[in-house]
């Protein structure tokens, strides 16, 4: 990689050299005007590209400057678009600057339409494409990380193709699936397979008034993704690409064989058992004199030896004329994992068309096709999937052998994770995803429009799991080889029609919308399986034995019918009113519970438009807004109101499998909509011509009738049925502060956002109290356990301190607090230990432009968040697993202050009893992106007939500060020991516009 870097640096220097041109100075006189009204602009900064010369316009907008005849003048003025003008020997220049759109005319995408940002009364956060595109992101969820207040994104791992972040908007608002609804160009879909380069903008609807128009599925927020479309003008061709490599983020450091063996002996001794290894054996581990019988294997190092190279290439063409416009793009992404045999290949093709067929009639097409191929190790029979490889790598001790001298694999109980990854076959997912809609728009009369959409979201997963049989050097083997071929199809069809009406009479403006839609989702899957193939190379079912073959399949269907409407009214653009309503019917509920009504109402007051504010020039925008509304959620399984009898409850009477049936799921005919009502108060403030902007929101969301299976007594005899059982409240604040300034040729943009959220369960019939608590009065699913108050230090404590019944303890073991003073430690002594849903999330974005160089840094973090460091991720020798270097800092009679308890091997007391010892704060600040870019000067580009060339280098996840300490990734959550680790990514990229 070093070589690549050097080449890259050479390229940068070459380009910089091209910037130096020789020319004679001339005097230029000029004037700067506003495009809109041709009034002179004073105080406009004028700089000369590549020269330390600058000036500013006087009161009448005039300026004068001595510059080289070939110079390029750069005009910058706060609130206006930057402009570059080549002098080209002109002695008098008049320049017109246009006001930045953002100030007044910026529009945001909202449900079924767009709205001027200044007129918004709901809480909508949005992000434009240019924020996203130059980061080497592989998916859109991670692009949103830290960018928007109230939007939390956690990227749990870095496996190629499976690195999507988990998105939560304003906390966890429900006890079932809290994922937000995703709408892509008006069609309910997912963001997973979209090409980030195709995105024009992303809006996040956070409060009831903005999202109620999506009714029954909007309770967790709505993410609206709009893709790019062609623009009128000459065809534009754009290339974006990058290449780079990955490295592991902070990973646990495991003990080497000698240290491991010594600590294991100590653990056995602590339990009164004989040592596992003799001194001679320890010596063999230390010296490595007998590497077959006494090996020292660094398993992490052996597993994570994949190349980690990744690259992305995108090319798009767009253009159009008055009657039709087009955008065509092709994207390719390739990620090679750090773990051997992990890979992701993705192709995206997009065609967006807009056509004006007649004066009254327009039609268009939005289409995206993607195909991705994700490969990962398939494990071996009995230990299927990459999860088992990850599980085993976190457990296998360094004293196990990877390979014999003859190259055959070593084995340790379940097997050898490196052998599984390299020789165990592949699980290969080919996902074809087609998403598109055609629309037609009819302008019936001035302001009245009808739009019809027919959309399709088709997903096809073709999964082939090929498990090879593996022979080990000790004569054992794992098998048989198997092939499992699974097909999964899901088709969502949407038909919708929307009628909109817009009218302004004097100072009154009305915007009305009415629509209907029907949506059907059909899911089908089938699976076929054979085993005992003649060799490990055959992967098609026909080659396998018919004995033991099997197949299976099922389907489900969900339907939704809806009517919706919205009415906006404003008076003089000062007083804003909005009401919306949706009426949804879902096939998930019985006929009499099917329909739900979701209304919302909001108001806004643009204080800055009042005459009394005009004198306060510092404030250019001030808006107060408030909203209240109800939205729904039906993310629960289908058919739950129907009493079902499941087949497949078979039994082999006399060795012949016989079909059986039984009721194995409960049903609930009373199931109905989950509803959440949200109250939102917000303020938008712009100071000094928007040089400084501020947005603040307070929200209070109450979710009721939550669809969840509440624990029931086992005496019921069935798994708990889903009921409308719970209620919870999320309330919080979120703030976004932006700063924008230009000093000469330096332009600086800074934004900081921070969100505070508090979650509390207000109703939950039967509490569930395991490792996590689900009960009234507590944060949902918070960690629950004993309070760790030190370690047993004296014999007196061992004899008399309250204990967990049945658990023998000795000096050095964890001591828990007897909360209720009944002299024993049991379920009643447990307390809430913290939640893994962060109370605070924040993001900071700083970007600098100086001449042709740009620099940006983006950090993101969370606070008031906890993680459970369970089992072997934290403790040594758990159920036969390995131990980490951290475990050496332990209690011994000589080191009573050691961090970890007395080392045990077989006794589970210290890690089985969840306590505050292992529930730890996982606050973090992560440097997510650091980027330096260089845009080639216009002079060179002209010669190349290219509009723009920009090159950049980027580092992702470069460093992290976390209270978890080293060895843990704060974004990998619970049970993280079995997860693919997060990665750092270093890339170099190139953008070219023709």
């Amino acid at each position: 990689m070093k070589k690549t870097c050097n080449r890259f640096l050479n390229l940068v220097m070459l380009m910089a050299a091209g910037n130096i041109a020789l020319a004679q100075n001339i005097r230029v006189d000029g004037k700067v005007l506003d495009t809109a009204d041709h009034s002179p602009l004073s105080g406009v900064n004028i700089a000369v590209s590549g020269k330390p010369i600058s000036t500013a316009t006087s009161n009448d907008g005039s300026f004068s400057l001595e510059v080289p005849a070939t110079a390029v003048l750069i005009f910058t003025y706060v609130g206006y678009l930057r402009k570059e003008v080549p002098v080209q020997n002109q002695k008098a220049i008049t320049v017109e600057l246009s006001a930045e759109a953002s100030a007044l005319n910026e529009v945001v995408v909202v449900g079924y339409g767009t709205q001027k940002k200044v007129n918004l009364t709901g809480s909508v956060a949005s992000i434009e494409a240019d924020k996203l595109i130059d980061r080497p992101i592989t998916n859109i969820s991670t692009a949103l990380q830290g960018e928007l207040p109230g939007v939390s994104v956690v990227q749990q791992g870095g496996q190629p193709g499976r690195d999507n972040g988990i998105i939560r908007i304003r906390g966890v608002g429900t006890m079932n699936d809290a994922a937000p609804m995703v709408v892509v160009d008006g069609i309910v879909s997912s963001m997973e397979d979209l090409n980030p380069n195709d995105i024009q903008s992303i809006s996040v609807l956070k409060d009831a008034s903005s999202s109620a128009i999506y009714g029954s599925r909007a309770a967790n927020g709505v993410i609206l993704i709009t893709t790019k479309r062609g623009e009128t003008g000459t065809p534009r061709i754009n290339y974006r690409g990058y290449a780079g490599w990955q490295e592991l983020t902070n990973q646990p450091e495991y003990l080497d064989a000698y240290e491991y063996a010594k600590l294991l002996n100590e653990g056995y001794k602590n339990e009164g058992k004989p040592a596992r290894y003799t001194d001679e054996e320890l010596e063999k581990f230390r010296t490595g004199s007998d590497p077959v019988n006494y090996p020292n294997t660094d398993w992490m190092d052996l597993l994570y030896r994949g190349s980690g190279l990744q690259q992305s290439h995108n090319i798009s063409a767009s253009g159009g004329n008055e009657s039709s416009r087009y955008l065509l793009s092709l994207g390719y992404l390739n990620q090679n994992g750090l773990m051997k045999s992990t890979n992701n290949d993705r192709y995206n093709v997009r065609l967006n068309l807009d056509s004006k067929i007649s004066k009254l009639f327009a039609a268009g097409l939005t289409s995206n096709f993607s195909r991705k191929n994700i490969d990962e190790p398939s494990g071996v029979p009995g230990w299927a999937g990459i999860d088992q490889v990850l599980r085993q790598i976190a457990r296998i001790p360094p004293t196990a052998l990877n390979k014999y001298p003859d190259g055959s694999w070593g084995r340790y109980i379940d097997g050898n994770p490196v052998a599984w990854a390299e020789d165990g076959g592949l699980s290969s997912d080919v996902v074809s995803h087609a998403l598109g809609n055609v629309f037609a728009e009819l302008n019936i009369l001035e302001g009245l429009k009808l739009r019809g959409d027919a959309g399709l979201d088709f997903n096809y997963l073709d999964r082939t799991i090929h498990q090879k049989s593996i022979s080990y050097g000790d004569g054992t083997s794992q098998g048989p080889n198997t092939v499992s071929d699974m097909n999964e199809r899901s088709t969502r069809t949407i038909l919708q029609a929307v009628l909109t009406y817009q009218k302004g009479i004097a100072d009154h403006h009305i915007n009305a919308l009415f629509g209907v839609s029907r949506e059907a989702l059909r899911y089908d899957t089938d699976n076929a399986y054979r085993q005992n193939f003649p060799n490990n190379n055959l992967t098609e079912l026909n080659a396998g034995a018919t004995l033991g073959m099997s197949n299976s399949g099922y389907s489900y269907e969900t339907r939704l019918g809806s009517y919706f409407g919205r009415l906006n009214y404003d008076f003089k653009g000062k007083y804003l009113l909005e009401g919306s309503m949706r009426y949804d019917g879902s096939s998930k509920f019985a006929e009499d519970k099917r329909w739900g009504l979701f209304p919302s109402f909001s108001v806004g007051w643009r204080v800055s438009e009042e005459t009394f504010m005009k004198s306060i020039t510092a404030i250019n925008n001030l808006k107060l807004r408030g909203s209240y509304g109800a939205i729904g959620n039906n993310s629960t399984d289908d058919y739950q109101f129907i009493p079902k009898v499941a087949l497949g409850q078979d039994y082999p009477f006399g060795g012949a499998i016989t079909s059986g049936a039984a009721q194995i799921t409960a049903y609930n005919p009373d199931l109905r909509w989950e509803k959440s009502t949200t109250f939102d108060l917000g303020i938008d403030l712009g100071l000094f011509k928007d040089r400084l902007t501020f947005t603040g929101d307070y929200y209070n969301r109450y979710t009721d009738n939550i669809l969840i299976a509440v624990p029931v007594s086992m005496i019921y005899g069935l798994p708990a049925p889903t009921v409308n059982a719970g209620a919870m409240r999320n309330k919080g604040f979120e703030f976004l502060i932006g700063h924008h300034n230009e000093i000469g040729e330096l332009s600086l943009n800074t934004s900081f956002n921070i969100s505070f959220n508090q979650n509390k369960v207000e109703r939950f019939a039967n509490p569930s109290k395991g490792k996590r608590i689900e009960a009234e009065g507590f944060p949902w699913d918070a960690f629950y356990g004993y309070e760790y108050i030190g370690k047993y230090q004296t014999d007196e404590q061992v004899a008399n301190a309250p204990k967990v019944p049945g658990s023998p303890v000795q000096k050095g073991d964890l001591l828990f607090k007897d909360q209720n003073g009944d002299n024993k430690i049991d379920a009643n002594d447990r307390i809430v230990l913290g939640s893994d849903m962060p109370g605070v999330t924040y993001g900071l974005n700083i970007s600098l432009n100086y001449k042709n160089v740009d620099f940006s840094v983006f950090g993101q973090g969370a606070a008031d968040v906890y993680q459970l460091l369970a089992n072997e991720i934290y403790f040594p020798f758990v159920n036969g697993a390995e131990a980490t270097k951290k475990n050496l800092d332990r209690w011994t009679p000589e080191t009573p202050d050691g961090k970890f308890p007395l080392t045990h091997v077989d006794q589970t007391y210290n890690f089985d009893n969840i306590s505050s010892f292992q529930v730890v704060s996982s606050s973090y600040l992560r440097l997510k992106t650091l980027q330096i870019g260089y845009t080639l000067p216009k002079a060179i580009l002209g010669a190349l007939k290219v509009d723009k060339i920009r090159i950049y280098i980027t580092g992702q996840n470069l460093f992290t500060i976390t209270s978890l300490g080293s060895g843990f990734d704060p974004e990998s959550q619970v049970d993280a020991q079995y997860k693919y680790p997060n990665v750092k990514v270093y890339t170099a990229g190139l953008n070219v516009n023709f």
Partner: protein, 541 residues
């Protein structure tokens, strides 16, 4: 068209989209619904099979009516064996470290009882062959009784539910006294027995039979001290003449001999590929690809008599500490794989650190002793794909039940001695009449006989899941379930000859603690205590 007309037409068009009732009515296409099920004899047959079958694909979860996962593992709670893997959830049940939050295994689920209750309610109105219906009902009643049998043995008082609970909220039920539940079980078994056919497991193809019902009834009566009743029920099974002891004790547990096994009175059936178990994976030694999940302990080994019928602590028995496995009851080497024994063409060596079977290795028996019941050396592809049936009750147990009940009720006669001697003679592979070829029991001394029958049960039925309940009813917990647990002694094995040079160091497995106040019962799981305010935790937890 006027503008107004246009709008009217368009609105009409919009509303035509209207989401009609039919659009929203969808039903599952891979499942039956309660509305259409329970109509025909075929439905009843499907549902009956559903009472036997397991509801999860996980062979390690005993969601079926019974499982190898219980039968082979239950002895690891006792002085017979040791479980080395905490995730098998049995070790805490042995060493006393279990509590409500970590209850070891959970037998409190009522899913089987619900299925049976529902079956008995729904089958009634179905028009079908009446005799068949009675048999089906009897099978369901047996399976429900079996589940309650397990529940009273493990929890004592438990809620007695005999009708389907419709509303989950109505499931917060308090326990019924153990005595009442026991009476219910005995009565149900009695009535089931009347309807069930007299068959062995071969002819019934694994369906429960009259013999199954009476044998289970006899077992429970023995546990409950109802000796005359136990004797009578056992005798009825003995007289059925469809059961006989299988000639070869070790072969009895091998899949190859299943078709000739007339000893099985009640069994869980398995089938390769379609409905496999993973016994071989668990029991086989490490060298054969197994995990040695089940290991025997020294106390078990010591329980086997010398081949002359004397116990090893008898000074006249000639027990040689240096050659501990010589001249022992043959069931020792048929049940336990010990250091120096030959197995699969090699000498088994669990004492040498370089051996794959070294007791400290992860997949080797921690105690030094593997268990051979059901063990068959198979290719690795079959380790988790075993089709061997697992016996829950076999004829030898019925004979020993008869004998013990007779001894305890003071009826000591030749028939009683014959019942014991049949079992003993089979162990030696000889006819009961050839008393010179095996140590036949001849004494009529009740105390002596009690010692013999208790030892006989332990040895004959080792690792078949009965020891814990025997210890419980004999109240031997304080002496058998307490203190340090040892495996074999350390030593070195001559892998050519099988000779072992022993040291005096015993392999210590763990310290066990017996809590008498627990009355041998398990804790009610915390989840149940949380969900059901009417249930009371058992004492000592």
């Amino acid at each position: 068209m006027t503008t107004l007309n246009k709008i009217t037409v368009l609105f009409a068009f919009l509303l035509l989209f209207a989401c009609g009732k039919n659009f929203m009515n969808v039903v599952p296409e891979d499942q039956l619904t309660d509305i259409t099920f329970w109509q025909t004899e075929n439905d009843a047959t499907l549902a009956l099979t559903g009472l036997y079958g397991q509801t999860t694909g996980d062979v390690n979860k005993a969601a079926t009516w019974e499982s190898h996962w219980n039968i082979l593992w239950w002895d690891l709670m006792t002085d017979n064996g040791y479980s080395q893997f905490p995730w098998d959830n049995i070790s805490v049940m042995g060493n006393g470290q279990l509590n409500a939050a970590n209850p070891g295994r959970n037998y409190f689920s009522y899913s089987q009882i619900r299925k049976c209750n529902n079956f008995l309610e729904q089958i009634e109105p179905i028009e079908m062959d009446q005799e068949k219906k009675e048999i089906y009902k009897a099978e369901a009643r047996f399976l429900r009784a079996y589940d309650y049998f397990r529940k009273v043995e493990f929890y004592g008082d438990v809620p007695l539910v005999t009708a389907t609970i419709v509303n989950a909220e109505d499931a917060k039920i308090a326990a019924t006294s153990k005595q009442e539940v026991v009476n219910f079980i005995l009565q149900e078994l009695d009535e089931a027995a009347k309807a069930l056919p007299v068959q062995n497991m071969r002819t019934s193809n694994g369906h429960v039979t009259r013999g199954s019902a009476l044998a289970l009834k006899a077992r429970l009566e023995l546990y409950e001290g109802k000796f005359p009743e136990a004797m009578a029920d056992a005798q009825e099974v003995m007289e059925m003449s469809v059961y006989e002891l299988y000639a070869d004790y070790q072969g009895l547990f091998l899949i190859d001999n299943e078709s000739n096994n007339k000893e099985s009175v009640l069994e869980v059936q398995y089938a390769e590929n379609d409905y496999p178990n993973n016994i071989w994976q668990h029991v086989l030694p490490a060298k054969e690809g197994g995990w040695s999940s089940i290991s025997a302990v020294q106390s078990m080994v010591d329980a086997y008599e010398m081949s002359d019928g004397k116990t090893i602590d008898d000074p006249t028995a000639g027990y040689d500490l240096n050659q501990p496995f010589v001249n022992r009851d043959p069931r020792l080497k048929m049940t336990i794989l010990y250091p120096g024994a030959s197995f699969n063409g090699r000498i088994f060596d669990s004492l040498n650190p370089a051996s794959p079977d070294y007791h400290q290795n992860a997949a080797a028996p921690r105690s030094g002793y593997n268990v051979l019941k059901y063990a068959k050396v198979v290719p690795s592809t079959l380790l988790q794909n075993g089709g061997e049936n697992v016996m829950v009750i076999r004829f030898a147990e019925v004979l020993l039940t008869y004998a013990e009940a007779a001894i305890e009720s003071g009826t000591i006669n030749q028939a009683v001695l014959d019942a014991i001697n049949q079992v003993r003679a089979r162990a030696y592979g000889v006819n009961m009449a050839n008393t010179d070829q095996y140590p036949a029991v001849t004494t009529h001394d009740p105390a002596e006989l009690r010692r013999i029958i208790r030892r006989e049960r332990r040895v004959e039925l080792a690792f078949e899941g009965l020891r814990y309940f025997d210890i419980k009813r004999w109240n031997l917990g304080a002496e058998t379930l307490n203190g340090p647990l040892y495996g074999s002694r350390e030593g070195s094995v001559n892998t050519q000859t099988g000779a072992v040079t022993w040291t005096n160091t015993k392999i210590k497995l763990e310290d066990r603690v017996f809590y008498p106040e627990r009355n041998y019962l398990l804790p009610i799981p915390q989840a149940e205590l949380d969900a059901n305010p009417n249930i009371v935790q058992n004492k000592g937890y």
